[in-house]
């Protein structure tokens, strides 16, 4: 009976720990734990202060332990582990957002937003006419609110400067 109870508890703990992906915690855990040893001791640090690396070391350790726990639990789990049904990556959308952000410093906010808006809406099945009108309106609203009202200088077309230099 005692053995049964014990095995049931182990199963419970294993099941509880085997959720999620281990790499999500192991990679940042390794980075933060290892890099916390690189943090120097500042001259102005009080002798009673545990220092700027203390908590980061603890956090890196916690992430590592969590990741290892999930990994061990996966190995210990009896039978085939239930895989999480992951959503497919929206590669096209990630790609055009990446290209949009990367192009802003070179071709400016307005032009890159024009290209991004029309492309993105086309991918998302908005009619071409509507997407052109909506993008133009979007650029106008952003300019009005951010540039005219709040004086925020959005990046402008500067490709020629780069070519020139």
């Amino acid at each position: 009976m005692l053995v049964n109870n014990k095995s049931s508890y182990i199963q419970t703990i294993v099941a509880a720990c085997s959720q999620g992906s281990a790499s999500l915690w192991l990679i940042p855990g390794c980075v933060f734990f290892a890099a916390s040893f690189q943090i120097g001791t500042p001259l102005i640090q009080s002798k009673y202060d545990p220092g700027p690396s203390f908590i980061s070391m603890l956090l890196g350790g916690l992430l590592l332990v969590g990741g290892v726990g999930i990994l061990v639990a996966r190995f210990m789990a009896k039978g085939p582990t239930r895989r999480l049904r992951s959503t497919p990556l929206p590669i096209k959308m990630i790609g055009i957002v990446l290209a949009y952000i990367a192009s802003i410093p070179f071709i400016g906010f307005q032009f890159s937003t024009l290209v991004f808006g029309i492309t993105s809406m086309a991918i998302l099945r908005v009619s071409p006419t509507l997407s052109c009108v909506a993008t133009a309106l979007l650029i106008f609203v952003v300019h009005l609110v951010f540039v005219e009202m709040f004086g925020i200088q959005l990046p402008e077309f500067s490709l020629l400067e780069y070519v020139g230099s």
């Binding site: 949009y100 998302l124 200088q153």
Partner: protein
């Protein structure tokens, strides 16, 4: 109190009410635009206020300062982009309700709770200012440390649903991200890896926009690619039913109001701690509905929205009594007070100027309702646009909003990176809210712990020396044990 009621009629003239209401509408629209903050709205309204009488000017500035949190809840509900850190707690349930076609009703309930929470907060502020100020002064670094740690664990416990172990790890990851940059106590660089752009740390707002907004766009695109385009419907406009919902959950409202006021009165604790604390307490005190939290539970909307607005009102206690602004918005408003010869301190209350400020704060909560209704109606129309247009606009506003924080493309890349991280975490069924909670509260936990140890000459036993610390540390341990045992019990049921 009598002086307060005498001050109110003097505020109800058209030359004060019209600019006051216009300023609040302006505050709602600015606060609800991703990337534009309440601080920017208040800063922009100040030059306009100088053209008016002292009464109208103060009403405008105080009015805008009180619209911030409700305004931040609007994009949080419809787009899952919290406009302010204090809106993050309400995002969980409000966005779920919006996805089920009850977004407008969620915002109506939110608006009523914000206004009533604000009224309650101001009334408590009037009565409890002297006593709360004494309590707040008595709080030491370790008391704040336990308060923030308790807020963190309560938030993690509630927002993680059935996966508190993953929630805890997500909070640790958020905490670790918050440590990138310069150490606040010694100015030592941490985790910058030689990149000067990282010296200032990971900006919180771009991270939040990416984690919630950008990842939601990516997820929505996946759905559109798989099925015909869908739309978030704002749902019907039912103010009476919304009021009924608030009244039905009146004990939750009252409990959150008190939590918000107590937390808000502590300098530096903030409306975000109050919102998460109230959310956690509400879940713990509602065993029947605890499984529904995070899935569109009304109490999950009522608790944080009542508490954060009550906390904003209570944050005026240290500001008015000691002249210590708790945040940037309060600092600007205190600056305006000084222009009009209003000096914070005990004399403020004896001179009658305190009653005048309380009267403005009280009427502001009532004016929030028409200003907020305009904001709700406007956003409800926007979400009726084709989903592809809305998602594209969210990306553009997220990019511009992240850029506008520091006029830096680095923040835009941070936003994008957190968008991808959010997508990856959600695919692995890891709750996102604890990560953001770790980023908000983690640095406070670290600073208070280290400050306390320095003040106690390294004596570790001082960590639970005061009564407040002792009580909160016990509550912290109990919460951890209850949370983990709850997961084990659930898993055992599933295994059996």
């Amino acid at each position: 109190m009598l002086e307060l009621f005498e001050a109110i009629p003097s505020l109800l003239s058209l030359h004060i009410l019209v600019p006051w209401l216009l300023a609040m509408v302006f505050g709602v629209f600015v606060g609800s635009t991703p990337g534009l903050t309440a601080t920017m709205a208040v800063a922009l309204i100040v030059p306009f206020s100088y053209q008016l009488d002292k009464e109208a000017a103060l009403a405008m500035v105080i009015g805008v300062s009180f619209t911030a949190i409700f305004a931040g809840d609007i994009p949080a509900t419809f787009l899952r982009i919290p406009g302010t850190p204090a809106s993050a707690a309400a995002t969980l349930d409000a966005h779920e309700l919006a996805k089920n076609g009850r977004g407008r009703q969620a915002l109506l309930v939110n608006l009523l709770c914000s206004a009533l929470g604000g009224v309650g907060g101001v009334i408590l502020l009037i009565y409890l200012s002297p006593a709360l100020a004494k309590v707040a002064v008595g709080f030491g670094a370790f008391d704040y440390f336990w308060l923030c740690l308790l807020g963190l664990i309560l938030g993690v416990s509630v927002s993680s649903g059935r996966r508190p172990n993953l929630g805890l790890l997500a909070a640790a990851l958020g905490f670790a991200f918050a440590m990138i940059g310069r150490d606040p106590l010694t100015n030592q660089e941490r985790f910058t890896f030689g990149f000067s752009a990282l010296e200032e740390g990971v900006s919180f707002i771009p991270a939040m926009i990416g984690l919630f907004g950008m990842s939601e766009v990516f997820r929505a695109v996946c759905k559109i690619e798989a099925h015909p385009p869908d739309r978030i419907t704002a749902g019907p406009f039912r103010p009476i039913r919304s009021l009924g919902l608030v009244l039905r959950h009146f004990p939750t409202f009252l409990q959150s109001l008190l939590t918000g006021t107590l937390v808000g009165a502590l300098p530096g604790a903030g409306a975000d701690v109050a919102a998460w604390g109230a959310y956690g307490i509400s879940e713990k005190t509602s065993p029947k509905e605890s499984d529904n939290f995070g899935k569109g539970e009304w109490k999950g909307v009522i608790a944080p929205t009542s508490a954060n607005n009550a906390a904003v009102a209570a944050a005026w206690i240290p500001a008015l009594v000691f002249g210590i602004p708790g945040d940037a918005v309060t600092a600007i408003v205190l600056g305006v007070f000084l222009v009009y010869d209003i000096t914070p301190g005990v004399e403020l209350f004896s001179s009658g100027q305190g009653s005048f400020i309380f009267a403005i704060a009280l009427v502001t909560q009532l004016l929030l309702i028409p200003a907020g209704l305009l904001g709700i109606q406007f956003f409800s129309q926007l979400v009726r646009l084709p989903r592809g247009m809305v998602l594209t606009s969210v990306v553009v506003f997220s990019v511009v909003g992240a850029f506008a924080m520091n006029n830096s493309m680095v923040d835009v890349w941070v936003m994008f990176a957190f968008g991808l991280l959010g997508l990856r975490l959600e695919n692995a069924k890891v709750p996102l809210a604890p990560l953001i909670l770790g980023m908000i509260l983690g640095p406070k936990v670290e600073v208070y712990l280290r400050q306390g140890l320095i003040a106690a000459n390294g004596d570790v036993s001082a960590i639970v020396a005061s009564v407040v610390s002792m009580v909160m540390s016990i509550m912290f341990i109990l919460t951890v044990l209850l949370t983990l045992s709850r997961q084990l019990v659930r898993k055992k049921d599933e295994v059996i």
